[in-house]
Amino acid sequence: MPTARTYEKILTALFWFIALVIAGILVAIVGYIVWRGLGVVDLGFILEAPRRAGKEGGIFTAIIGTLYLTAVALIIAVPLGVGAAVYLEEYSRKASRFNTLVNLTMETLAGIPSIVFGLFGFVLFVIFLNLGWSILSGGLTLALMVLPTITRTAQEALRSVPVEYRENSLALGAGQWQTIRRVVLPPAWPGIVTGVILSVGRAVGETAAVLLTAGSSLNMPGSLSDPARSMSVHLYILAMEGLSLEKAFGTALLVVVLILIINFLANLSLRRLTGSIRQDG
């Protein structure tokens, strides 16, 4: 009969094995992409515009398109999301109907598939508001898509700030906004930044919604009203239309590298957050 200790050992080994499998899958996928993509990626691939629909040349315009779309999405979604979180956590009455409604809306929005956002953005921005397939339409759609993530993470970050900070600050005669700006936001900031960085990851990886709203132009976008192609869209088209699987893997590699960099940054700021909490204890 196994003793409690052998039982523990078996379980530990089991969990270790599961963790190994998960890590293995990640390594396999990334490894395969690196293996297939590395031959394609060089400075020219990064800095040259695509030629012959992407069969030749690089993906420079798609990188620029991705950066534009992400930037527009963040410029819109970050102030709105953080502002909403500050209102919900710091100003509104927690039990109010409006607060409940907004929270429910955010949860629902977070669960909606991106293609639905794409369709909505297509109808609203591209057609109804006549913005056409453009960086603006795409950026606005991405903004709607990441808004719940940014708001939720910012709310969590604000909630993790001890209520005593607020009480002490207010009791010293500080106003509500002074309190938020000086003692609530600073410790919440790393958590908010984590949400923003995760949103960048989602925006960079998004394909369907971008294809529907920003189009898939290979030209270098000159203004916000120009259509653009993101790296993910480029990858999709290269692979789906059989243009060049090689270039698709090259693009995939750069997308993965970009996402890994973003995840690294997210982890870094998360560690700063937990670090500052530990300091308080």
Partner: protein, 253 residues
């Protein structure tokens, strides 16, 4: 010499939603004295304390009836500036809660939010406040280091220095020693006794010996009622109410 009444509550009642936490409290608190509020948990003494700087308003669904007067001025009047009130009425909480910033910035926090920018004036206020809180000697060489690294007793004295820096007239203390070890508690009690020369102090405490040691007046709360309010010695030696006697002799609570 006639004693000056600093604070006065008149028929003060407070409700959390439909729950009544305070019933018609009438109390006069003298200037430059230590007034202790005692009573079992949930009796309303902390709630009463928080009516004096209107901090109960932070809790949704709180309604206050009656009035509190500070120097004869009603503080629940519609046109009262809560910020100005809280500048005059500082508060030290149960759990020392230093802000995640340097020792210096913690003490300078109040003066800064009230608009003081001059570095030399801030330096002076920080030094004087830390000295008044008996903390200067321990921290003068590390004012720039994070306040969260201090010991609990030091943190509580830092919080007091932070309150003093705003130059309040009244200091409310909500069980300030409950998280401290006996030595830190003794130092805090010394500090409170020294502070009463310049400030009016109202302190909520669970510790009856502490109330007896440091206070001039004591109020006994029970189930939201102020049962008895007398000079401390009288209340402990010769309580008028049976319930006060039962409580201080340890028969309940």
């Amino acid at each position: 010499m006639e004693e000056k009444i600093k604070l006065k509550s008149q028929e003060l009642s407070l409700f959390y939603g439909t729950f009544q936490a305070l019933y018609n409290i009438n109390m006069e608190i003298e200037a430059q004295r230590v007034t202790a509020l005692i009573g079992p948990s949930g009796c309303g003494k902390s709630t009463f304390l928080r009516t004096i700087n209107r901090l109960n308003e932070l809790i949704d669904g709180t309604t206050t009836r009656g009035e509190v007067y500070l120097d004869g001025q009603p503080i629940y009047d519609r046109d009262v500036d809560v910020v100005a009130l809280r500048k005059k009425v500082g508060m030290v909480f149960q759990k020392p809660s230093v802000f995640p910033m340097s020792i210096y910035d913690n003490v300078a926090y109040g003066p800064r939010i009230h608009g003081l920018k001059s570095r030399s004036e801030l330096d002076e206020i920080v030094e004087n406040s830390l000295k008044a809180a008996n903390l200067w000697e321990e921290v003068k060489d590390r004012l720039g280091s994070p306040a969260v690294r201090m010991s609990g007793g030091q943190q509580q004295r830092l919080v007091i220095a932070r309150v003093l820096a705003v130059e309040p007239e009244v200091i409310l203390m909500d069980e300030p020693a409950s998280a401290l070890d006996p030595i830190s508690t003794a130092r805090l009690e010394e500090l409170i006794t020294a502070l009463k020369n310049n400030y009016t102090i109202v302190i909520v405490t669970h510790n009856m010996q502490q109330a007896a040691r440091i206070s001039d007046f004591t109020g006994f709360f029970l189930n939201g009622h102020l049962v008895e309010f007398s000079p401390t010695e009288e209340l402990f030696v010769n309580p008028h109410d049976k319930r006060t006697e039962d409580y201080i002799t340890g028969r309940f609570g």
